[in-house]
Subunit: 303 residues, 2 copies
């Protein structure tokens, strides 16, 4: 999916969004601001970070209008995007509340796990009704504002998880927003989201951390000495932001633990197969895995 | 490490190697032949494959002089390279024996695990003394002659595992051979080789197979629906050649099982950490893994 730059610019400025506030100006928040600027967004851009030094840096780099976390109250409708680690959510929302009239915002997030957010919204009905859940499937093991880029969301998938309370126009507004940054939007129930991402994203991260931790204990400084590149690539996500991943593991605990257990049982099956030394059964298993993966990869082109 | 093409050509033709026979003309064997041709090797190239159709294809594509597996006896010294799956080793060596006088060959392999080969060489002292163990750390999840390329070994690492019986000149010959295909050679004791590669290569493959098998059972055709690329990349090696990996798992059984167990115990540690929901301990662990990996990645530049 390719979107023409002029088209993006026109679409973006044709929406009713004139003010955007990014809360958490790290890799994701910084990249949102840079993407908007690269697409000639003509409204006002604001940003606040729980570390006020980061807010000042973002201002110094010309990404946001405000110089620090002391924002004037914005009277017009504002799109607020929360891009903080899951467990900093309440702190981030409190920071927003100090600066905005909640009637005038439409709000979204970028979180990789939704259960904590859903619980929080249950206790905040006023915030809940204009909160649209988003999860851009874009990122890097290199975190922070310094690593943000203007094309992080281009041709990437963004999951929007609609809830009953959502207004149709808010859902459309958020979908438009991501599409205008070059992303493709897919809809997915929030509980299903946490279940699937525990398996397809959180589990691979847990595996990379476990593998790296094992290799360091077992091989020490020789872990990468003879690998020639593949292992570096395979363990890359073990260099991801520790706070972000700590928060995901804790906030999606039940699904992540279920995923680890399911994976472990498949790992034990392979151990048993190897223990048996039975060439035919082992090959049948490996053939099955390869064939299924190759078939899924072809079908997956629908996106 | 960059090697000039003319330099490679000169070096390659300056060695005493005039005849090269590749046994097993798949991804590795085919790539060796293509690399030699691309580097203007002026000697004779022969190839045989356990599947004689593959031998005929290699001949039809101009990679080898012989048209099928019926080679005339070559009287001059020949470098034989075994590039077959581990458990086809004996069958491949028997095929060589039918065509060559063993006094006149220097022989090497490309195997990812050495223990079965070491055992075989114990029972074949004549073959043993001119057998130099090689393992090029190069490959692809796409196997077979069709996927072979002339630059597969360029800037890649090749492990040579010297044994007491090896002649110094044979070791030098094999080292020269790989260097002339653009590879960098490192020496490593064969037992140590199997121990390290069980952890840094065989284990990641086992993990990829277990993960893919779990995802297929748990998510079915939705396994890749919401992943956006990372999961495809992370499970890529689960599409590797089933026969090659079956053979590695069986032939390096003890070390692979030990690696799986060590990894599993680290995985269980993470489960316990998540179960505890203790933010500080979890973050300390993730910080430790990230810091160690990042430090090792910097130091690893020595290669």
């Amino acid at each position: 999916m390719k979107i023409d730059k002029v088209q993006v610019e026109q679409k973006l400025n044709a929406t009713s969004i004139n003010n955007i506030l990014v809360v958490g100006v790290g890799l994701i928040g910084g990249s949102i601001l840079k993407s908007l600027i690269a697409n000639n967004f003509r409204g006002c851009l604001y940003g606040i970070d729980l570390n006020e030094d980061v807010t000042r840096q973002a201002h110094a780099r010309g990404l946001i209008q405000n110089a620090d976390n002391n924002l004037r109250i914005i009277e017009e409708e504002t799109l607020v995007i929360l891009s903080v680690p899951v467990l900093s959510l309440e702190e981030a929302i409190n920071l927003v509340k100090e600066n905005f009239s909640l009637q005038k915002i439409v709000i979204t997030d970028t979180l990789s796990s939704k259960s904590k957010l859903l619980k929080f919204l249950e206790s905040s009905p006023e915030l809940s009704k204009r909160f649209v859940l988003s999860h851009p499937i874009a990122g890097s093991e290199k975190s922070g504002l310094d690593n943000s880029t203007s094309d992080l969301f281009k041709d990437k998938l963004v999951i929007i998880s609609p809830r009953n309370v959502n207004l149709k126009e808010d859902l459309e507004k958020i979908q438009n927003f991501w599409e205008q940054l070059g992303s493709k939007v897919a809809l997915l129930d929030p509980e299903k989201h946490d279940q699937i991402f525990a398996r397809t994203s959180h589990l691979p991260h847990v595996i990379a951390y476990a593998l790296m931790s094992f290799l360091v204990k077992d091989l020490g400084k020789n872990a990468f000495s003879y690998s020639g590149g593949s292992l570096e690539n395979y363990t890359r996500i073990a260099s991801s932001d520790p706070v972000m991943w700590r928060d995901i593991m804790i906030s999606n605990k039940n699904e992540v633990l279920a995923a680890i257990n399911g994976f472990k049982s498949n790992l034990e099956n392979i151990s048993d197969l190897i223990e048996s030394e039975d060439p035919q059964t082992i090959q049948e298993f490996l053939d099955f895995v390869k064939d299924t993966r190759d078939t899924l990869m072809i079908k997956e082109d629908f996106l």
